[in-house]
């Protein structure tokens, strides 16, 4: 579904990603792990189109999207969430989601017809609302939500664009155990309908959810394999996992 071919990105003298090749198969949850500064978020930026690669190709659903701007990539079914929560803080939760639905449903160069009349947008937004468990907060301003709820909305915004592949950049960042459990359940629920590339530090979550895991160290992908094999891979253990691995 997604294929990166030798993708590189430099910031000044530093190679944030160095000839990264990676394949995400349709229907899988593919986890991307690695120590801080390994280049995971940069890679998410390169895939989503927020950043352009210096060299290499990004292919999605059999077409080269390397030169497509971000909004066109979203239209083709590729959405992301952010590690640092990025929502529309002054809009209500429902309006946040309706906006993301709106982005995928036809042109918004419509200057006259009131948005309120487009019940379809709000119905679609409501169903996402149910999925992320925020029905009771739908009229609250996004800024007033608790951290865990904002994280859920963050993921909800990506889901509301009806992606075929969703890039989740550390969805559990800063969450307590209870909130993390909700997020894991959410990902369990959506995986039936959407392919997931999951960047995450929470190893419990990663080993529970992932069909395959890629390990990134210093801008390079050093291994891609099933969770069992990654756990036993000596190179991965040395570079990253250490004692964190649940035995």
């Amino acid at each position: 579904m997604l294929r990166l071919e030798s993708v590189s990105k430099r910031f000044g003298g530093v190679a944030a990603t160095d000839r990264v090749s990676l394949e995400v198969a349709a229907g899988e949850v593919h986890a991307l792990i690695g120590p801080n500064g390994a280049g995971k978020t940069t890679l998410v930026g390169l895939i989503s189109g927020a950043l352009r690669a210096d060299s290499g190709n990004v292919r999605f659903m059999d077409s080269d999207i390397s030169s497509l701007p971000q909004h066109d990539r979203v239209r083709s079914g590729l959405a992301r969430s952010y590690q640092i929560t990025s929502i529309f803080r002054k809009l209500s939760v429902l309006d946040n989601l309706a906006l993301a639905v709106q982005a995928r449903s036809g042109s918004s160069f419509s200057f006259w017809r009131p948005l309120e009349k487009e019940t379809g947008l709000f119905e679609a937004a409501s169903s996402i609302l149910g999925e992320i468990g925020l029905q009771e907060k739908k009229n609250h301003l996004a800024a007033t939500l608790a951290h865990g709820e904002q994280r859920a909305l963050e993921v909800g915004l990506a889901l509301a664009t009806q992606p075929k592949l969703v890039l989740l950049d550390e969805p559990m960042a800063g969450m307590g155990p209870e909130e993390s459990r909700h997020m894991i359940e959410l990902i369990e629920r959506i995986r039936a309908g959407v392919t997931v590339l999951l960047v995450e530090h929470d190893m419990d979550a990663v080993f529970r959810l992932a069909d395959r895991i890629s390990v990134m160290v210093d801008g390079r992908v050093i291994a891609t394999d099933s969770p069992e094999k990654i756990r036993l891979n000596p190179e991965v253990r040395r570079a990253y996992l250490g004692d964190e691995v649940p035995a």
Binding site: S48, A50, P69, Q70, H71, D72, V74, R75, A79, R80, Y82, S86, I87, F88, R89, K90, L91, D95, L99, A100, Q102, A103, R104, S108, F109, S110, F111, W112, R113, P114, L115, E116, E118, L157, A158, A160, T161
Partner: protein
Amino acid sequence: MKKSIFLLAIFGLFPLAMQWADQLFYVSFATRVMIYAIAATSLNLVLGYGGMISFGHAAFVGTGAYVGSILVAEGVTSALIGWPAAIAVSALAAGIIGAISLRTRGVYFIMITLAFAQMMFYLVNSMKAYGGDEGLTLRQRPSLIVDLGDEVTFYYVVLSILALTIFLLYRLMKSRFGRVVIAIRENEARAEAIGFPVFRYKLACFVIAGAAAGLAGALLASHGKYVNPNVLHWVQSGTLMIMVILGGVGHLWGGALGAAMLLGLEHLISDYPIGWLAQLAPNYQQHANLGVGLVMLALVLFAPQGIAGLLERRKHAAA
């Protein structure tokens, strides 16, 4: 809705009352205020709703003013041609300037819009055929179906255009497009990340505002039967900005309230001497801006949402 009708009634009856009191000056003054209200409202779309801090909005007011005036000077006296032409050329100018400036953000955007406006200021200064720095005087106002030479008639025409402008802004901000503009103001990166081509929406917003500003410019020149390069000067851009800030950034009535407040205040200070102050500082009336500055300071400190914000707060407190 009720309130709008009430407001319209007051504004509708105003010139008749002034005619009765033999104070036609105030009809003309109110017309000028309303023209500035249109210009400030158009800036509010860009600045308040769109979050794009344009410091060159006078460029579009000026373009409209000059296009309208040049057409009249060249013998095309119909406002039915002149005003739409002013709108079209200003929209085009906004399209070109926007396409370049909107690639920058923050302070750079402020500076580049300012730079474009100043370039146009010097351009019209050098247009010797149309008065250069001395400006261009028109023999008459352009003609419409009605007689625009009559102050009261002109007042009603401008009032209608202002009402239409505010109504269009209201509808615009309730539409899909308006929602996207707000989203971009609130979180541009995320708006792009959920699939909106942000640049195109910002440009469209900038062009719509430029077009409305152009119409305000054409009205301004028609009203005074005169235009000079100062209409494009950066001070003019600053004045429009102050109007928006005074009135209420991102409030439907912000531009109109701000224009009324600023021009009203200037008029009060310079035409109604305060005895004791005049004795203390005989020339104070020539420095109306000092008073305006103090009011501005007070508002920014105590009512950062402008007058519209104040009114809204009172309404909420009462409810």
